[in-house]
Structure formats: structure tokens, C-alpha cells
């Protein structure tokens, strides 16, 4: 709000997306009970969504007014790399794979593999060091949560019950 400022890469796109998202949310809120009464279940969601839409439009206006840094204009790829670095993308893929694998192979196995792969990717030490570290940290997590806190950890469908 403090005068025109330089845009972050992708900021306008993000502003457009949240306007769209708020509009859809408002439409969905309208579908709950419409304008049938002022104390209906849909009224407050509509108010919230309307507030979102209003503020999202403001944000979009601000980004349209903001100065585009033409002198240091980067390529699309460079901008993307700033907002979504390759490291982040790789980690996101790893996390998604980890969470998807958890119901299949169980928490212990999935976490072990996830920890090992991400340590190896982020920390870049010797494979054995990473392996040892992931085993130790997995053992601590398992002991702390399964044994002390008695939390139920996700079991795998493909793993016979009772193994982990």
C-alpha cells in the first residue's frame, strides 16, 4: 500500500488466482442457502468470501499499479527459479511421494526412505552418513511418539500387520 513498488515474479498471476479463488468461494457460499434469510448458514461464509474477493481485487489493483523493473528484467525462467527454486520443486515431489506412499507401505518405512533421500539431496554427505543419520532420527521419532506419546502411526496396506 505504500506507493508503487517493484513486483515479485509471479505476483500478478498470484493476485489473479486469488481473485478467481475468492469468486468461486463466494459462488459456493451463495449455493449454501442463497439470500433466503439473514441468519441462514450461508450468510457468514458469503460475508467472509465477499471480504476475500474485495481485498483480493485491491491486491490485484496494487500489483497492476506496481512498477515492473524493466532494467533488471529477468527471463521467465529466472523469475520462476526465484519463487520456486529447483530445490523446492524436488522437495515437494519427495514430500508428495512420501505422503502418497505412507498409506501403502506404512509410516516407518515411508519415513525412513523419505528421510534418507532428502538428507542425501539437501545435505550432500556420504551415503553411509545419511543412512546412519536417517536411521537414528527415525528411531528417535519412533521411540518418542510410538513408545512415549503412544501415538498411532499410519500402517501400510501392503505390509502385513504387526511388522512395523
Amino acid at each position: 500500500m505504500s506507493g508503487p513498488k517493484t513486483l515479485r515474479p509471479g505476483e500478478r498471476v498470484f493476485a489473479c488466482l486469488i481473485v478467481l479463488f475468492s469468486a468461486v468461494a463466494l459462488w459456493q457460499a451463495f449455493l449454501i442457502s442463497g439470500f433466503t434469510g439473514l441468519s441462514q448458514p450461508g450468510v457468514f461464509p458469503m460475508l467472509a468470501a465477499a471480504a476475500m474477493l474485495g481485498s483480493a481485487l485491491f491486491i490485484l489493483r496494487d500489483t497492476l499499479r506496481a512498477r515492473v523493473d524493466h532494467e533488471n528484467r529477468r527471463t521467465f525462467a529466472a523469475g520462476m527459479a526465484e519463487v520456486v527454486p529447483v530445490k523446492l520443486l524436488v522437495m515437494l515431489v519427495l514430500v508428495a511421494a512420501y505422503l502418497a506412499a505412507m498409506p501403502l507401505i506404512g509410516f516407518v518405512l515411508a519415513s525412513g526412505v523419505f528421510l534418507f533421500v532428502s538428507f542425501a539431496f539437501l545435505w550432500r554427505r556420504h551415503v553411509l552418513v545419511c543412512l546412519a543419520l536417517s536411521l537414528v532420527s527415525l528411531a528417535i521419532v519412533y521411540f518418542l511418539f510410538r513408545v512415549i506419546f503412544q501415538v498411532v502411526l499410519p500402517q501400510g496396506q501392503l505390509i502385513p500387520p504387526g511388522v512395523f
Binding site: L38, V43, M52, I59, V95, L99, F107, R124, V151
Partner: protein, 504 residues
């Protein structure tokens, strides 16, 4: 009176509660200190594990983590110039230069003593004012709660975000997430898209872990390779003349911290910045200029952010409105244990209130003990590389989310919130209002509808009620003032006044 004393000393006399408070405080110091781990993150994950415990045990642990965590951030700020938590940003400005002069030990000792003093001021305020506020709060009606909720969300949005619009958007998003599921009044589905899974709603702990845990971990990936510069630590003994000289500044900053902490939605981070600014404005001739290691700039934020802890409990326990993000999480814990934070809490369960006061006091004493010892091991642990921390945070977040209802779908929600939260952070949105919205949204919805039904569905009566009752009128005025202060017209007026002092 004797009963109150009994509740107060509950955690002091029970060895198990004593141990949990101590363990919580120690763990909190490390959690607060390790950059990338935050108190909010830790408490949200902890709550998912402790909901099967006795409520006293869970609260003892969480109180310890809260008190320790708010303090812990200062250590890395001083030693590594990396604030371990947002509430230690101001501390880093002065603490690191002091450490570079080779006085890290005395700086840490001074912050410890001041944090503890601040903590006690906050607790004292809690013990004195909460019962009073609770007496007034019994007179609050539904529209007042609606206003309090709105004010809380907006306060976070205005004070901490890049722009007001972004704060409103985040708050609205939170309210919307809180609405998902069956409407508690009519059992109609809202945003369920016919799916049975969505009918149960999204537990707020899932949203918290997503927005605070995963999103933060993803943000940390950007700085994964930054190595910290270590400082030598000397003797950790507080110098008596230092403590004496800055005592009153500490007390005044604690006052600021308590008030800011008690405002719904604002917590230690804002309290610390305001107190720092206060110290900077009121210290006429500092020994060392600000920014180059002025001890005043170390004392003020640290006393204030610990005072904000006690302050933050005031609106939570008396009104059911969290004072900051961590108390928002603790409110979730109270709900899970079947307690209803609000004006009736002190009437129905006074033991819980006095237990909390006693517990915070105990945690503060442990803070003094742990704060002045064990620094050498400490420096080793905080050097833990982020490359190891980030995957661990993700695993812990997954366990935490699953533990709430043993539902794997919640883990996917968590990831979704995490990724969205990452983009929000990148583009200058705050995630705090989202969480406040999720927690306060259902409460505001119910109170809005009660107020509307009370006005028989007539908009005129509904609006008139907001200005015709004294409590509502004050809250309405505060709410409107907050919105007005964000409009360009207001700022134009203020700048005109500033340029033309005669017009005052």
C-alpha cells in the same frame, strides 16, 4: 483463598507436573532457538500428541514450551545474528554487535534476567486482571463476541502484514476454512461438495501444522546452505549493576509487552518491536548508539516478549479470544479437553485458571535456571544444519496431523495448506490471520446468527444494537477506527496534521 493456593501450587508439588513443566521449558528454549522451528509449530504438533493426556499434564508441558520458546529465540539472535523466532528480531539488532565485542555471555545473562522479570510482570497482570475482565466479560452478548473476533483478526492483519488488504484476505480465508463441514446449528453441509470426508470439517490443528509447520519448512529451503557464524561465549553471570541500571526500563517494557500481548491477535513479536522502538525513543544518551550494541535495545524487547506471554493468556482465558498465535493453539487444546475458554471458565473451572498461573510462574523460574546454564551444549545443538531439520519437520508434521483423528486425508490437507502457505508468505501475506480465522470463524458465525435472530432478522434493529449498548458501542467504535485508520483518506489527514502542527 486456601483452595486458590492449592490450585496455584498444584504443579509445584506434583513431581510429574514439575518434571513436565521443566522439560517443556528446556525443550522450548531449544525449539525457540533453532531457526526454522517455532513455538507455534511446536505447540501445534504437541497438541496432537497430548490430547489423550490429562488436561493438567498437557497444559504444564505446553506452558513450559511457550515460556521457554519465547525466550529461546534471543540466544541465536545474540550468538548467530539469526533470530530463532520473530519475537527476537529486535534482539538481534543489538545483541549480535554486543556478542561481536566479546560480551556474548553477559548479554545472554542480561536477557535471561530481563526475560524472567518480564515474564513475572505478565503473570502478575494475568492473575490480577483476568478475574476483573472476566467479570465484565459475563456481560458480553453475542454481537460483542462477533466484534471481538473481527477486531482480533484485523489487528493481526494490520500490524504484521505488508498491507491491510492482504490481512483481510488471509483472515477471510481462515474463516472460510473454519466453515467447512456441517453447520453446527442446522447440520447443513457447507463447502462439502457432497463428500463425506469434508462433512467432518478440517480440524484446525491440521491447518496450523500446514501453515506454520510445512509452509515454514518450505520457506527455510531457500536458506538451506547459509552457514552461521559462531561467537565465543564468556562467563554467563548477570552483572548486578547492569540489572539495576536497566531494571525500570525492563519493567516499563514489560508493561508494553503485557498490554500488546493482551490485545486479541497480537503477541510477542509485535510487543518486542514496539518496546524496542520505545527504548530507542526514550533513551536520551545511550552508552553505545542503537544498532551498535546498546543494552537498552536488548533489555526492552526481551522483557516485552516474555511479558506478552502472560498478557496473551488474559483474553484467551476470559473471553475465549486468543491473544496470539500460540494461545490460539492452546485454545484448541482446551477445546479438545472439553473445556470452554470464555467468561464462564473462571466461574466453572477456577482451578484451571489458577493452575495456569502457578504453572507459568514455575516455568519462569525454570527459565532462570536453564537460561543461566548449559550454554556450551546449546551452541552445539543449534548448529544443526537446516538440511537435517527440514525433512524432520515434515516427518513430525505428518505424524502430528495423522495423530489427531488417524485420518490419512488430513495429511493431504496439511500438504495443500503448506504449499499455499508458502506462496502466501512469498507474496507478503501473513499466515497468522488465517489461523485466527479458522479458530474464531465458527465462533463468529454462531454469534452473528444469534445476534441476528435476537434482532428478529431485522437489519435495522441488528445495526442499532451495535451502537445502543455501551459495551457494543465501544467495540464498534474500536472496530470502525481500525478500518478507518487503513484508508488513504485517514493517512492523508494524519500527514496533513503532521505537516501543519498549528492545526492541532
Amino acid at each position: 483463598m486456601i483452595e486458590t493456593l492449592g490450585y496455584l501450587s498444584l504443579s509445584w508439588l506434583d513431581p510429574w507436573l514439575l518434571f513436565l513443566t521443566a522439560a517443556g521449558t528446556l525443550a522450548g528454549i531449544y525449539v525457540g532457538a533453532i531457526p526454522g522451528l517455532s513455538v507455534t509449530m511446536a505447540t501445534s504438533i504437541l497438541i496432537s500428541f497430548t490430547f489423550k493426556w490429562q488436561v493438567n499434564e498437557a497444559l504444564a508441558l505446553i506452558a513450559g514450551v511457550f515460556v521457554g520458546g519465547v525466550y529461546g529465540g534471543s540466544r541465536t539472535a545474540i550468538l548467530l545474528n539469526i533470530p530463532g523466532a520473530p519475537s527476537a528480531i529486535a534482539t538481534a539488532l543489538e545483541g549480535y554487535p554486543i556478542a561481536k565485542r566479546g560480551e556474548a555471555g553477559s548479554a545472554i545473562a542480561l536477557t535471561t534476567v530481563m526475560s524472567v522479570i518480564g515474564g513475572f510482570v505478565g503473570i502478575l497482570a494475568l492473575a490480577l486482571f483476568a478475574p476483573m475482565i472476566s467479570d465484565i466479560a459475563i456481560m458480553f452478548v453475542s454481537r460483542d463476541y462477533l466484534l471481538l473476533g473481527l477486531i482480533g483478526i484485523l489487528l493481526v492483519g494490520t500490524l504484521s502484514g505488508e498491507s491491510f488488504a492482504k490481512g483481510v484476505f488471509a483472515g477471510g480465508l481462515g474463516v472460510l476454512i473454519g466453515m467447512i463441514g456441517l453447520d453446527p446449528m442446522t447440520a447443513e453441509g457447507r463447502f462439502t461438495f457432497g463428500s463425506v470426508t469434508l462433512m467432518g470439517g478440517v480440524p484446525y490443528v491440521v491447518a496450523m501444522i500446514g501453515f506454520f509447520g510445512v509452509a515454514e519448512a518450505l520457506m527455510q529451503l531457500k536458506t538451506v546452505d547459509v552457514a552461521a557464524v559462531k561467537q565465543k561465549v564468556g562467563r554467563i553471570v548477570p552483572r548486578l549493576d547492569d540489572v539495576k541500571r536497566y531494571f525500570w526500563l525492563g519493567i516499563r517494557s514489560s508493561g508494553i509487552g503485557t498490554v500488546i500481548g493482551a490485545l486479541p491477535g497480537t503477541g510477542g513479536d509485535i510487543a518486542a518491536l514496539l518496546a524496542y522502538d520505545y527504548a530507542k525513543r526514550t533513551t536520551k544518551s545511550p552508552e553505545v548508539p542503537f544498532g551498535e550494541g546498546a543494552k537498552e535495545g536488548l533489555v526492552a524487547p526481551e522483557a516485552a516478549n516474555n511479558a506478552a506471554v502472560g498478557g496473551a493468556f488474559i483474553p484467551m482465558l476470559t473471553l475465549g479470544i486468543p491473544g496470539d498465535a500460540v494461545t490460539a493453539v492452546i485454545i484448541g487444546a482446551l477445546f479438545i479437553h472439553g473445556l470452554k475458554p470464555g467468561p464462564m471458565l473462571l466461574v466453572e473451572t477456577p482451578h484451571l485458571f489458577w493452575f495456569t498461573v502457578g504453572n507459568l510462574t514455575l516455568a519462569n523460574i525454570f527459565l532462570l535456571i536453564f537460561g543461566l546454564t548449559g550454554i556450551r551444549i546449546f551452541t552445539k545443538i543449534v548448529e544443526c544444519p537446516k538440511a537435517i531439520l527440514i525433512p524432520l519437520i515434515i516427518v513430525l508434521s505428518a505424524v502430528g496431523t495423522y495423530a489427531i483423528q488417524n485420518d490419512p486425508v488430513h495429511i493431504y490437507w496439511m500438504l495443500l495448506f503448506g504449499v499455499f502457505g508458502y506462496f502466501m508468505k512469498i507474496y507478503g501475506f501473513q499466515v497468522g490471520p488465517v489461523i485466527l480465522g479458522v479458530i474464531l470463524g465458527p465462533m463468529m458465525d454462531a454469534n452473528y446468527r444469534r445476534a441476528m435472530i435476537g434482532a428478529r432478522g431485522d437489519v435495522g434493529t441488528f445495526l442499532w444494537d451495535f451502537v445502543s449498548h455501551p459495551i457494543s458501542l465501544i467495540l464498534t467504535a474500536a472496530f470502525l477506527l481500525m478500518i478507518a485508520s487503513q484508508t488513504p483518506l485517514w493517512r492523508h489527514g494524519v500527514s496533513m496534521m503532521a505537516r501543519n502542527p498549528a492545526a492541532k
